[in-house]
Symmetry: C2
Subunit: 770 residues, 2 copies
């Protein structure tokens, strides 16, 4: 824990400058707009500890794999989120001395992330070693309207002197990833250009040939009066700059407005990118700071109108949930089906590759409810387009006939993770991808998606399961050997209940999906069958046989689903009985000790109970929850949310709230002392789920919304927005009752607990508790 931020409903606020918190703040105060993102590094030179991070969506680097001992099947590379040429920088000199917060006296430091407006602000007073005292105010944003544009306003006011102040706005391509397997630099500079008031650098990645071009334009005002520029121009191999110097009197404000364009070859022809960067930055500077900010703030207002959660009576919780929603919206906007959601978004390098099963298991529910269907649809199409790679991935492991295994970590569909117990064995991820298709259709009603994009993915996944599952002559049942479940504290186990359950569900759902497409679009079915060389009778018969004869481990005494065969042979100890000094166990115990223990990293059986809740009665859910939660150490950021939802489900609102607390301020309060590496973006969606699916009890059943709301006693009320098939609903839960406003769309009928209600368009429903 490291609680140094002020509680506020709409802002994240850091008061006072502590260098030891700076890397953490760089993560927390990150900005992003779906197309690019950035850690909250300072604009001015900073010689202290920092993690430079400037990221361009979809631009990555296939860093050659490094392992201790090579195992057959390991991928050639681990994809790295790429630290790109930096454009935010403005060196500031005060009477010739470089402004550097690591080397001067700092007071009145305030850093603010205004989440309502999507703006990062900073102000401080610095006393340099030459005695000059200045006030600095900096403000920047990455436009969510023009997503290739970033803007900075940076002003310096002398407080105790008249003198010279110089600004050196620059772009620097001499950057590297902190995490580089072989300490290489990944960029090659193609062109640099520095002219009066402007600068440009085009660069390409040494592998894969991604091109980017960063452009800058700037203007300087003294007390609001635009100044003429007489810059010294610098053009180096990987660096362009302008240096402009001004005489400033005490209390006069000297401000620089720096406009930047950030273009990549994902969106521009390589031949044009240099010119286009000039066009984009020129248009931005012509539009000017004020208009750009205004349209940006207005676009954020619209996002909040569709995704905000309001909590009354708990400022810390309010701030936390907004922070999570804000970061989700900064990371992924759903406009580009080539992009996905990295576990750290645009806030750090860790975990490299962009896409994990986090997307389908955690992010999809968030976007389904808070965005237009197209956003989630694009996430699904991302996987559809990578089907061929998933088939190749399965082939590398010995599977045939179009069996598809989606990778654990990927940028372009190729696997790039290199631990055998994860890469080759944590195959339940395949199930999450199928489930997301089901979930999307369930939420949106867009059943046509199956024929368009869904069915071939489902067939590839089911083919994989039917080959991966084998028949045990000893058991006379189908078994799945050698897997790692969501609980990564077990490796190479047999008959993991969760993996077997979701695998079997996939085959069943694919059989249903085939019937749906057969009925609705027989020509398309024929086409798919022909493309995939699919033998309807034989393959579905095999799936049916597995569906009916799968082995599931179960504890005969209690009826609890067993995480894996043999789980009950372990010494059964509860997490609460562990000495707090050895928590988290993953930092204190050797790996084998963790593996041998009964302790669970994150929901495993319970992940299945959560996903397939409708298959189990409440007693079964409670029995499994009561068995597994006390054995769970929640050492994944993805763990508490699922448990919180299940606790709500079984009516344990206090337990649900305690678990919610562990997820909601994970990064803001730096529970695991790791926020300096970046934020836990994908788990933020889980926090949202804890409120909406957990406390709110939101479900979709037979095409209708169902709410089963509870409220933690610590809150006065909470409200959330739900997009559901053309409607936008605002649900408010308080101690007194439940209110639902039908904000957009036609009349809708929904269930609250067991009763169905109709809400006419633009009207609302209030149900008071008895």
């Amino acid at each position: 824990m490291n609680e140094y931020l002020k509680h506020d409903e709409w802002c994240i606020i850091e008061e006072g400058f502590k260098p030891e918190n700076h890397r953490a703040s760089e993560s927390i105060f990150s900005l992003g707009n779906g197309n690019m993102g950035q850690r909250a590094m300072f604009e001015e030179h900073y010689s202290g500890e920092t993690l430079q991070g400037t990221y361009v969506a979809g631009v990555y680097y296939p860093d050659k794999t490094r392992v201790g001992w090579w195992k057959n099947g390991y991928p050639e590379y681990f994809a790295k989120v790429l630290n790109a040429p930096t454009w935010i920088n403005i060196d500031v000199k005060i009477n010739g001395e470089m402004l550097d917060l690591a080397k001067c006296e700092v007071s009145n430091f305030v850093r603010t992330l205004n989440m309502k407006e999507g703006v990062l602000e900073r102000s401080f007073i610095a006393t340099l070693s030459n005695g000059n005292k200045v006030k600095v105010e900096a403000k920047r944003f990455l436009s969510i309207v023009t997503s290739e544009v970033g803007v900075i306003r940076y002003s310096v006011t002398p407080l105790n002197f008249d003198g010279k102040i110089s600004f050196t706005p620059y772009i620097d391509a001499d950057v590297m990833n902190e995490d580089s397997n072989y300490d290489e630099k990944f960029w090659e500079v193609l062109a640099v250009k520095s002219i009066k008031g402007e600068g440009y650098i085009a660069a390409k990645t040494k592998k894969l040939d991604f091109h980017v071009c960063m452009g800058m334009k700037y203007e300087v005002c003294k007390d609001g009066q635009k100044q003429e520029l007489h810059p010294i121009l610098t053009e180096e191999e990987k660096y362009v700059a302008n240096t402009v110097e001004f005489d400033v009197e005490q209390d006069q404000e000297l401000s620089i407005y720096k406009y930047a364009s950030v273009l990549s070859s994902l969106n521009h022809a390589k031949a044009d990118i240099f010119n286009n960067a000039q066009v984009v930055v020129s248009a931005a500077s012509e539009k000017s700071y004020g208009s750009l900010l205004e349209e940006h703030v207005s676009a954020w207002a619209d996002k909040w109108a569709h995704s905000d959660i309001v909590i009354e009576g708990d400022v810390a919780a309010q701030q936390a949930i907004r922070f999570n929603i804000f970061q989700m919206n900064q990371t992924y906007t759903g406009e580009d089906e080539r992009l996905n959601i990295g576990p750290k978004g645009f806030t750090g390098e860790k975990y490299g590759g962009s896409t994990y099963w986090d997307t389908e298991a955690y992010c999809v529910p968030f976007y389904l409810s808070t965005s237009k269907p197209e956003v989630t649809r694009n996430l699904l199409i991302y996987r559809h387009k990578q089907l061929q790679k998933a088939i190749e991935n399965a082939e590398k492991l010995g599977f045939t006939n179009g069996a598809a295994l989606y990778p654990m970590v990927t940028m372009n569909g190729e696997e790039c993770h290199n631990e055998w117990e994860i890469t080759f064995e944590e195959i339940h991820r395949n199930g999450a991808i199928a489930f997301a298709i089901y979930n999307y259709i369930r939420h949106t009603g867009d059943e046509k998606y199956l024929a368009e994009y869904g069915l071939d993915v489902l067939i590839g996944i089911s083919r994989f399961w039917s080959q991966r599952i084998t028949f045990s002559e000893a058991k006379k049942k189908y078994v799945m050997l050698g897997v790692t479940g969501p609980n990564e504290y077990e490796n190479n186990i047999n008959n993991n209940w969760y993996t077997s359950t979701i695998a079997n569900w996939c085959m069943k759902y694919t059989r249903e999906a085939l019937q749906i497409v057969k009925a609705s679009n027989p020509d398309r079915l024929k086409e798919i069958m022909s493309n995939l060389n699919f033998d309807f009778e034989v393959e579905t018969a095999k799936w049916k046989d597995i569906n009916e004869n799968m082995f599931y481990p179960i504890d005969e005494e209690t009826g609890v689903f067993l995480q894996q065969e043999g789980y009950m042979d372990k010494e059964q100890i509860l997490a609460a009985d562990l000495d707090p000094a050895i928590r988290p166990i993953n930092q204190h115990w050797s790996w084998d000790r963790i593996l041998r223990s009964c302790f669970i990293k994150q929901a495993d059986v319970l992940q299945g109970v959560y996903l397939f809740e409708d298959q189990f009665d409440e007693e079964t859910i409670k029995k499994n929850y009561d068995f597994y939660e006390p054995r769970t150490v929640h050492e994944s950021s993805l763990s508490p949310c699922i448990h919180s939802i299940l606790a709500s489900k079984i009516g344990d609102i206090d337990g649900a709230y305690q678990l919610y607390l562990r997820t909601s301020r994970l990064d803001l309060d730096d529970y695991n002392k790791e926020v300096h590496e970046g934020l836990h973006i994908t788990s933020m969606a889980g926090t949202w789920m804890s409120i909406v699916e957990g406390f709110g009890g939101l479900r979709v059943v037979n095409g209708k919304l169902v709410l089963n709301p509870l409220i933690p006693k610590e809150w006065k009320s909470y409200s959330f927005k739900i997009r559901f098939r053309g409607n936008l609903l605002n649900v408010r839960v308080s101690e007194e009752g439940v209110g639902v406003i039908n904000e957009e769309g036609e009349d809708i009928s929904l269930f609250i607990q067991d009763d169905e209600y109709k809400i006419e368009k633009e009207s609302s429903l209030v149900i008071e508790h008895a």
Copy 2:
């Protein structure tokens, strides 16, 4: 397979120079004398493909660990067998042109490893690009009498010219390991000295501060006449040389005798090492080439007199077994308890660290029968001295109270392997270390070893097992979860029959050992108990309880011991049914596919059946052999020998012979195309075991030797030597019968099959078959 060597009873012979075989030959023709060793690099400059390898026993480098994903408990370093400064080199110039077999025409090339004498010879005719044709003869050996001395005789004879020939004998410390985790050089040079006729380099390792000093002296003869030297002296930062040039007429032989001393700080004070290297090399050169060679050859004759195996009727087999015995004797001489036997000995870098369980499981039986007891005793004391490190190693994994886990790979007792499934889980190694104590006492009768060194090791090991084994409430039995057996194609399995069996045996044997020491040396027992804080009653009671209530997986239908719980859930396929194109599977299948398959890398259940043969009736042995051998792919060099012994045991001499073939010429015929990386030294002991314990059926039962000899139909006879408690026996087995000569020692009685025979001293016994 790569069969390019000539079959010969005493020599390994390569005829004709093929650069593509050179790295393989460098391994095969390696020399060693227990104190140092060397790959068979050329003396003269060679610009072709080569793996430089000069090794000094006990000098290693703790290379910083490299992994893909760090797991808690991984060791800080992986110890590397260290490529030391090279001293064999002599640059040769013919009329100014460098002799380099990569750049001239080579004919009449013959390379010979004379195993009888321990000498490496080479001769060839080279035609240089300047047209000069020379005959070259080179001969070198590492003295097994003065083990810090190496000697080279290198002669050049002009065949078609009169002209100038120069020799540049040198020492070069600018060497590095091919396998360096971070491409670092590991040596720092301390001193260089080049004077007329001599040169020296002292260097130290950058970590651990091992010092070595290499010295050279040389003389030159023309047609046998010693020449006066007028050298050009070179002293560089890491290099010393003399260059001497002579006018030579056609057919005159110009020879250089190069004497080297190789000293390390294991045997010399650091302050003295430079001077001592001068003393040692001066003494060698004074003794002169002829005498050094003579005493060396005579010492080898003595080694052969005690360890030779003679096979009549099969030259390839004869050559192979002598090669294996020769390499074993080159690698370890048993004089220094700080040394051990690396899997590649002094022949390559692969596998780094020196000591694996190979030593106890494979090498100990060889040395017990072919060397004085002190040799094996020193191998045991090596582990005794590392007990404290083994305790620390176990502590890192969470064990307490003096539990000892010996490392998988080590140089000094610290673990340096970094795969969790091996490092933390392949714990059966602990059992082999205990078994070696038992085996040593059984063979030598030296029961006092228990009180002296053995008991504390046994207690540490048994304490480990009793903590590692846990009680399953579900089974009401003791279980051992999360292990890797000798079959490394299974990881993290539960209740591996072999590991559970040897663990349980350890605790039983420790209880017996405690009784023995209690009876024979109660004071020493008290001392040990006090040193180890050992609670006799409580701890042995716990071991007894485990002994009586251990769970062993067994196939109920067939009674076969199950490799692990759940093994019968796998698809049961036989190795013979695999497509030969995908063999070896470890080069063709992804790791998970191997793990999921039923295929076995090396003896696992059968390793236990082999070790504890006396616990099982012949039917049980046969049943397990018949079940497991067909599922075994023998993809470890340690596999075929154990199976061959068991095949002999159940009377399947043809099967035993086929398996013997797979082990005996593994390196000579390069079965796995990997001999260029070094020889499989430790598995060579297994080949010896295949003959002596397999065909010969040698056992020690109740303190007496037992023979159950068979002979492959391909052989006329074979004979081997056995040291057993003061006797040296020569056992000869032929189609006609068995002969045993009592070559050394008093009268002895032994069993042949079920009959006991007495052989008086210096007499012999002949038993003809009926």
